[in-house]
Each structure stands twice: as structure tokens, then as C-alpha cells.
């Protein structure tokens, strides 16, 4: 009797410790990545890194000013193209999403969020690059926007659904038509939460590399306007990391540090913002 009890007790302790060990193992790579990127990247960070163009192979120094600006440009473009339709589609799903059409939209968004980013790259390549006959910031921005669209749509829908119905009823009771109640009361109440979701989506696409390889491509120089190949931090990290040059590896680590800081800053501040909001997790 006692031995059975002991065995059960032992199994319980064993499995529970195994779960703790699993959680620890899961976090080791995170710590290792953060350590390596900081330790190796910090040496390459200086003023030149933010203000200079890349130097040709063999010359020391130089920076990634064009790639930093390029990444910001691509991300802003993606926001401009991706957020408005995402939010409107989310509003539709939250307000009228019970129809068969609504279910189809929701389903498409979910499926789209699982599509590999590299196939989005091929899609935008055939849609934009082949038509305009050049790699461009515009193509890169569209690719990132396509990746953002399903996230923004579903986040907007989920957060609008968290707004208490009593707010809508109060607005309707005061005589507002439904569309104004939705836009002025519901959407405004949900706006901080939606902003958080959008920030998470932006953080995700800011680090995307695969869809940019054959849309924005790369550029050793400044690119002006939206119709030229554009350098970006993620693509530069890739190119520099797989190159055989020691100096480029150093630059890749520095770029990784900058990119990681950008992404984690967006991510962590979004999550801290949401922590103080009612209803949003």
C-alpha cells in the first residue's frame, strides 16, 4: 500500500520536475542568442555604423546607414499599405462576421497567417517585380504588408469583441447610427489594444528576410524613392553572415544587435502597454 503511494508520489515529483526542466531548456537558446548578439555586436556599434554606407570588400570601416533607413522605409510602407485594410476587415468581422462570408474571411485570414513568408515573396515577385521589371522598395513593402494583413485583421476583430456591448447600446440609445457608434465608440475604446496588436505585427515583419530577398532585394548605396532596390537590415545580416569576410561578420553581428533591439523594444513595449488594459491579455 505504502509502496504504491510512494511510487505515485515519486512519479508526480518526477514529471513535475521534468516540466520545470523543459521550461529551463526552452529558455537556454533565448539567453544564448541574447548573449552572443550583445557580446559580439557591441564591438561593431559606433557612429559610423549609423551614418556611413558599406565599404567595399577588403576595406575596414563603413556602416549600414542605408540599410537602417531602408528597413524603416519598408516597415512604414508596409504599415501604410497593410494596416488600414486590416483594421477595416477586422471591423467587418467583429460587426457583421456571423455571415457565411464573414466565416470565409476569418478562415482565409487564419490560413494566410500560416503561409510561409518565402511564398509571399514569390507571390509579390510575380505580382509587382515582374510587372514593373525591377526590384523595389514598393515590392518589399507590399510583401511585408501581405504578411501583416491577417494579424491586423484578427487582432482588430478580437479586441473589438472585448469592448462591452453596453457601450454600443448607450451610443445607439443616444441616437447615433450604427456606423458612428462603431467608429466613434467601439473602435476608439479598442484602439489602444489594437495599437498593441499592430505593434506586435510590425515587430514581426521588421525582422522578416525571406520575402525581401526577391522583392526589395539589396543595394550597396542609398535608394531614393520607392522604385529602386533597397537595402534592409535583415537581408544585410544574411548576406554578411554567409560571406567569408571577417570584417563583414563583425558588421553582421552589429546589425543583428540593432535589429534585435528594435524588434524587442517594439515587442516588449507593446506587451507592457497591454498589461495595463482592461480585458486585453
Amino acid at each position: 500500500m505504502l509502496s504504491t503511494y510512494n511510487r505515485r508520489k515519486f512519479t508526480d515529483v518526477f514529471v513535475r520536475s521534468a516540466c520545470v526542466v523543459a521550461a529551463v531548456i526552452a529558455l537556454i537558446p533565448l539567453i544564448s542568442v541574447l548573449y552572443y548578439v550583445t557580446a559580439r555586436g557591441i564591438g561593431g556599434i559606433n557612429l559610423d555604423f549609423f551614418t556611413e554606407l558599406p565599404k567595399p570588400v577588403g576595406e575596414a570601416g563603413g556602416g549600414m546607414a542605408n540599410a537602417i533607413v531602408g528597413t524603416l522605409k519598408l516597415v512604414l510602407l508596409a504599415c501604410a499599405i497593410g494596416i488600414p485594410p486590416g483594421v477595416l476587415a477586422g471591423v467587418y468581422l467583429a460587426e457583421f462576421g456571423h455571415s457565411r462570408f464573414g466565416k470565409l474571411v476569418r478562415f482565409s485570414a487564419d490560413v494566410m497567417s500560416g503561409v510561409p513568408s518565402i511564398t509571399v515573396g514569390i507571390f509579390v515577385y510575380s505580382l509587382v517585380v515582374l510587372q514593373t521589371k525591377q526590384f523595389s522598395a514598393l515590392a518589399g513593402g507590399i510583401a511585408l504588408a501581405v504578411l501583416m494583413l491577417p494579424t491586423v485583421t484578427r487582432t482588430t476583430e478580437e479586441l473589438l469583441k472585448l469592448v462591452p456591448e453596453s457601450l454600443r447600446e448607450a451610443a445607439l440609445g443616444l441616437g447615433l447610427p450604427k456606423w458612428r457608434a462603431t467608429l466613434r465608440v467601439m473602435l476608439r475604446t479598442a484602439a489602444p489594444g489594437i495599437a498593441t496588436g499592430v505593434m506586435l505585427a510590425v515587430a514581426r515583419v521588421a525582422g522578416e528576410t525571406a520575402p525581401l530577398l526577391f522583392t526589395a532585394f539589396n543595394n550597396r548605396f542609398w535608394s531614393s524613392g520607392l522604385n529602386e532596390p533597397t537595402a534592409s537590415l535583415p537581408v544585410n545580416i544574411y548576406t554578411y553572415a554567409v560571406s567569408p569576410y571577417e570584417e563583414w561578420h563583425r558588421q553582421a553581428w552589429a546589425a543583428a544587435l540593432v535589429l534585435l533591439l528594435l524588434v524587442l523594444l517594439l515587442n516588449v513595449s507593446a506587451r507592457l502597454l497591454v498589461r495595463n488594459r482592461v480585458g486585453a491579455r
Binding site: 508526480d12 482565409s108 494566410m112 513568408s117 518565402i118 507571390f123 525582422g207 524587442l264
Partner: protein, 328 residues
Amino acid sequence: MSVSHDVSLVRGRSRMLTRFGREVNWGDFVFRRSTALVAGLVIAVLLAMAIAMVRGSSESIAKFGLHFVFSSAWDPVRDIYGALPFIYGTIASSLLALVFAVPISLGVAIFLSELAPSWLRGPVGFLVELLAAVPSVVYGLWGIFALAPWLRETVEPLLARFLGFLPLFQGPQHGFGMLAGGIILAIMITPTISSVSREVLRAVPSALREGALGLGATPWEAVRVAVLPFARSGLVGATILGLGRALGETMAITMVIGNRAEISASLFAPSYTMASVIANEFTEATGQLYLSALAEVGLLLFVVTVLLNVVARLLVWRVGRLPEGGRL
């Protein structure tokens, strides 16, 4: 004739009535139609994606047919393409990733939803989700300069010494290869599987748990007999979502798997995945047929991941709701 109708005639505009006889608000009408139009854009983009992939690869499909999937000849010079080594590399690396990631992710999920004290759940969950925030290319960089050397100098010699009788652990030890690819994919899909699993476990009614505990079960027994059976299909769904992620992952694995189109039994040997071959060769592909073959690789990847996502979501929906945003 009602009074209200007269008013409308006076103002000189036609009116639309709802089926309850109430006047339709034009703002509402426009609002509903225009948001529906934008929502339709989501479906349109997905459809356009499918059409673009099929059209892009039509030449290759017509030329090679089913042979494309079963042939290992990938020869741009002779313009003959078969994707078998890439398909093998993708499937093998993803399954290897599941071998590492599933036990760990389930452990994390059970820890976070059932066992951890509440003050620990927030921070640990947060850190696991940060794993998902690190860009793929940064994992790749870390893979090249930290993971691969570690595998080459420490892990692979040890494996060869103690398990070298298995074909899995034979051959030259580069560090770069299937093992590195599997590990890096495992790291990247762990947050996906564990966060979906955690949501699934949370959706299990606590009465089940309490019932088991009330009958004298230990906490683990309560999880095993009451929680896991209820959550099973959702956990399978979480795993399939992770698999979908692993199949389509590109940058990190391209940087560590060695990129050689070979099929080898050894985990130490280099391999090549479908996503990697697209990333490496798409911008350099010169011939029309070459591009078309690469697009067909993309099409295969697209179809498989879409199907996996559909199945996974149906399974997860059976248990409960997905985490907010739906992006996994």
C-alpha cells in the same frame, strides 16, 4: 399612404425600408458594404496567391508532371528539375524539429497552465514568447557562429563515440547539417506549440481537474487522466501548427543546414530544404523553366502548409479558442 412617405416625397429622395419597415440608414448601408469589400480583400489576396503560384509553375508542371516530386535530378545546366532531395530535407528537418520541440513545448505548456505558481506564469510565458520575437535571420547568424561550432566540437563527437553504431550518427562532422537544422527549427517552433498548447489546456474545464484531485489523484495524475484526454485533439493541432511553421521556415535553416542536395541517413550530413533552394536560387535563376521549377517548389510548400493549417485549426477549435490575433 403614410405620413412619412409624404415627407420623403417632399424632400425628393427615395427611401429604402428594412424588412421591419424601418428606414435604412445610408451611413450604415455604406459602412457595411465598404468594410465587407475590404474584408473580401483578404480572400482575394489568398486566392491571388494561389493563382500566381500555379501560373508561375505551370511550365514546370507541364514538363515534368509527377516526376518532379520523385526525381532527384536538379540540374540547371541541362534544364532538368526534380525536387526530391529538397522535399526530403524539408520533411526530415521538420520531423526532427518536432522530436525535440514537442516534449519540451508540452512540458512548458503543462508547467505554465497547471503546475507553476501564479507569480511565475507571467514572466516565463513572456520569455517563451520572446523566443518567437527573435527574427529568423538572427537565429541563423547565431546558428552559424555559435550552434554549429558547438555541435562540431562537442555534441557530434560525443554522439559518434557513444551512438556511432547507428547510421544516424556516422560520417564527417561539419556542425552544419541536418542536426543543426532540426535544432534551430525546434527552437523556432517551441513558442508556437507551447503557446497554443497552453491555450488548449486552459480551455479544459477546471471541474475535470478538481474532480480528479478530489478523488485523490496527484497533480500529475489529474493532468494525465483528466486534462490531457480532453485536450488531446487540441494538442495534436498545436503540433501540426508547429509543423507548418517548421516546413516553411527559411532563413535560419538555410544558414545552418549546409545546402547540399543529398539524401543521407546521417544527421551530421548536409541537406537542403524547399524553402532554402528558393531563397538561394530564385534571384539567380536565369531560364524560364528554372524559375518555373522553383515556383513549383514554392507551390508545393504553399499547398502543404495551407492544408496543415486547415487541419490544425479544426483540431484546435474542437477544444477551445486560439490565442488572440490568430497568428501562430
